[in-house]
């Protein structure tokens, strides 16, 4: 099996998988909790994709919550004034 690192190859080489695993270990919760060193390439990729998707969801959820807050605050309240000065100038 060739592991050439040519630009444009659609296959990730073994070296890169090992590098990715060691770095992702600290970042992705799912992989960090695994004790085995033999994490398969496809598993690493899967957990990475899942993690990125969950981060995307959280950004979207937080944006929606902030949007609802800004929409529902009473125009004359002290809190509205604070938020307004922070965000509206």
């Amino acid at each position: 099996m060739s592991t050439r690192r040519s630009r444009g190859s659609t296959r990730i080489s073994d070296d890169q998988i090992i590098e990715l695993v060691s770095k992702l270990r600290q970042l992705v919760p799912e992989i960090r909790n695994r004790r085995s060193d033999k994490v398969s390439a496809s598993k690493v990729l899967q957990e990475t994709c899942n993690y990125i998707r969950s981060l995307h969801r959280e950004v979207s959820d937080l944006s929606e919550r902030l949007s609802q807050l800004l929409t529902t605050i009473d125009a004359d309240s002290a809190e509205a004034g604070i938020i307004r000065s922070l965000l509206n100038q």
Partner: protein, 175 residues
């Protein structure tokens, strides 16, 4: 990382102000999109053009009609960007990928390893689809870009979470 969060927060708030001054009254969904786009752009800007995902994110936002004005505002105060993301260099990378996709199979392959390889290919494609500009990336940069992107996303989420929960505490709790 703390510096990145500070920069992000500054740019995000700045972007939100620009959005508010542009459109006085927004629907819930419009405002949500404004908040999200401001946040994504702010985080991309903290990378100072040093990563491909951030350049791709900014380029994509410039093309999107509703985000265009905000992108221009945000970028006028930052370093200049490479406006032509779809350059000839990217096109030749894409063509190389297309040519290499026709892989010649070895004559005596083990079915299990073949399936494993296919699975890695499939999941690599999925990862590329999740990264801004990922479809143009070769596998060497994909690893570094993924790591940088995940770190940035985490910082973005942490700051957003702080702001939103603090605001909710302030507004939703009876005073």
């Amino acid at each position: 990382m703390k510096w990145v969060k500070q920069e992000f927060l500054k740019k995000w708030i700045w972007g939100l102000r620009k959005y508010s001054s542009e459109k006085k009254s927004m629907s819930l969904m419009e405002r949500k999109k404004a908040i999200k786009v401001s946040a994504d752009l702010a985080m991309a800007c903290t990378r100072n053009n040093r990563t491909r995902w951030s350049r791709a994110l900014i380029a994509n936002a410039s093309k999107d009609g509703s985000s265009k004005i905000l992108t221009e505002h945000l970028l006028s105060s930052s370093l200049p960007i490479r406006k032509s993301f779809n350059s000839t260099r990217m096109r030749s990378c894409r063509n190389i990928l297309r040519r290499n996709r026709a892989v010649r199979r070895p004559k005596d392959r083990v079915v299990a390893s073949f399936i494993a390889k296919k699975l890695v290919q499939k999941r690599t494609r999925r990862l590329k689809s999740l990264l801004p500009g990922g479809e143009f990336m070769d596998d060497v940069s994909l690893v570094d870009e993924t790591l940088d992107y995940i770190q940035s996303l985490r910082a973005q989420v942490e700051v957003m979470r702080c702001l939103v929960t603090a605001s909710e505490l302030m507004i939703l709790s009876p005073s």
